[in-house]
Amino acid sequence: MTSDCLKLQVKVNGFRVELGEIEEILTKDAAVASAAATVFEGKLAAYVVPAVSGSAVSGSAVGGSAVSGSAVSGSAVGGTAVGGTAVGGTADAADADAVQARLRVLCAEKLPDYMVPHHWTMLEQVPLSPNGKVDRKRLPPPTRRSSAQQGAESGTSPAVEEPADAVEAAVREAMASILRLPVATLCCERSHFFRLGGDSVSALRLLLALRTALGTRLTVQQLFAQPTVRGICSQMHASAASAAAAAATAATAATAADGGGSASSAVPSAGTPARQLRMVCLQPGDSSTHLPLFLVHPAGASSLCYLPLVRRLGHQRPVYAFDDSCLTDGGDFQLGSIAEVAAECLVLMSDALGLGGGGVAGGAVAGGAMAGASPAVVLGGWSYGGVVALEMARQLEARSLEMAREDDPSPTSAAPPALHTFPTPLPAVHSVLMFDAPLGQTQGRGFHDPSTASDVDGRPRLDANGSPRSDAVMQVLSWLPSMLIEPDCNLLHLMYMVASECT
């Protein structure tokens, strides 16, 4: 690394990036002979010369020759020999994959998300200027991988599984169209949407395309859970079955009500599929050693906004989040109070804990730290989510108190009806994490400490017409592009990894 690298600043997605810092991280790895970083079409690109034995560096300027992507095959790449020097066979390809994977992790560990390169290209030699500095202008563009390479990486070779029915064919066609790949190269069983170049934006496009073509309304979470043609179809079938079951349940309940039977509580039971909220497994972790963390989404944002934080907590921490289908699916917001939201979160949590007979993607949290008479959980949330998390803790503890004095006939209204059927043992709340939770908005309604009334923000979130204050809306809405853009700075990679671990 040269001093000019350290001084070379670029701006990517609004973040100021020192390219030299990236190069410094890369070149410290023993498997790297040299490295360069630059920006290509608005995204960071890393170029790595592996220090692998047998891959002699050509004396000629390699400039425009690149071994693109992670697959460094022994044959010419894309029909072009790499600097006239073959880079090993399949073993070398595997090595290169391993090196690249490790470098990605290394960057992710050492650098903020927005500094982790999006493109990775293996070179035989970094082009240098006459004075020995990296000649960034001669760095080749990160070449799009050939179908063969993509296939090798994502599993489309050697045999491509054809669609089993018209639905799979439609899904495959949509995926190929979004990824701009020949339909015939996609294997229904193994072609992985994200490994083939899909990102958060193209994921949204795919969901929209499926909605248009098939009338199905899959969620982003479902796509992350099973990002293959067959997996998507499986999710579609599951959603359809779930909807049918819900319809049957509703019909049965209506029949019972018409016939004078006892109507059930309006609060959804643990088995009711049509809830406004849903559980997302952000990271399965190791529940035998770590307490699970349950996070509630903020107002106007998906719980996927917690992924950058989750990544910082280490892979061992099980993390679940409550997401609102209204945000992604556009349905009506039906929950009428913070207490109702908290109660629904608790029912979902019981499923995740394996107490309610349900489950979430990634499996139920059980055993180890969760085993025993009183499992423990950590609750948390950002802004609105923090208020809901606190209410969840209050309801859980209220129910615990009720159960402790169940011989006492005096009723208490502290715990909502949903918790009366909450499976036991009730989880103990280890702590509640509140990230700038807006409790001050409850001024005058009995919740706040009167002594702190003067601290309450006097600016209402809603204007005189009942509409959200414009500056607040725009700030919250700015989260959305952050969620969409940040994947390009490696959040996508993280989301993909999380999804992979969940399946």
Binding site: P308, L335, S337, M434, F435, D457, W479, E486
Partner: protein, 103 residues
């Protein structure tokens, strides 16, 4: 502004409209719940509360949450604002600060 930011990423007009509209509606709905939040003041929770707030927050909420719990309230100050504290490199500080309370 949102549309301008998203436009290079999403070329589908309907999706642009849908995303921004859903977020706006959801934001309004959640805030209505907050503004009508009248929780039962008792019993106090028995678990510790971690009150993590950004240095530069424009939001001024309750100065203390101690009246909400019988246990300890741990106050933590973090870089960023209400809107940025959970993004990008700021999350490193958040993770470090909350780790002692994760059990």
């Amino acid at each position: 502004m949102l549309r301008a930011q998203l436009a290079p990423l999403i070329d589908d007009e309907a999706m642009l409209e849908s995303l921004s509209a859903n977020a706006a509606r959801h934001f309004v709905a959640c805030n209505r719940l907050l503004d009508t939040h009248v929780p039962t003041p008792t019993p106090l929770v028995r678990c510790p509360l971690v009150d993590a707030r950004p240095y530069q927050s424009e939001c001024v909420f309750l100065s203390s949450l101690q009246h909400l719990t019988r246990a300890t309230v741990h106050k933590i100050e973090l870089p960023g604002t209400h809107w940025t504290m959970m993004f990008g490199e700021l999350t490193a500080g958040v993770a470090e600060a909350i780790t002692p309370f994760l059990g």
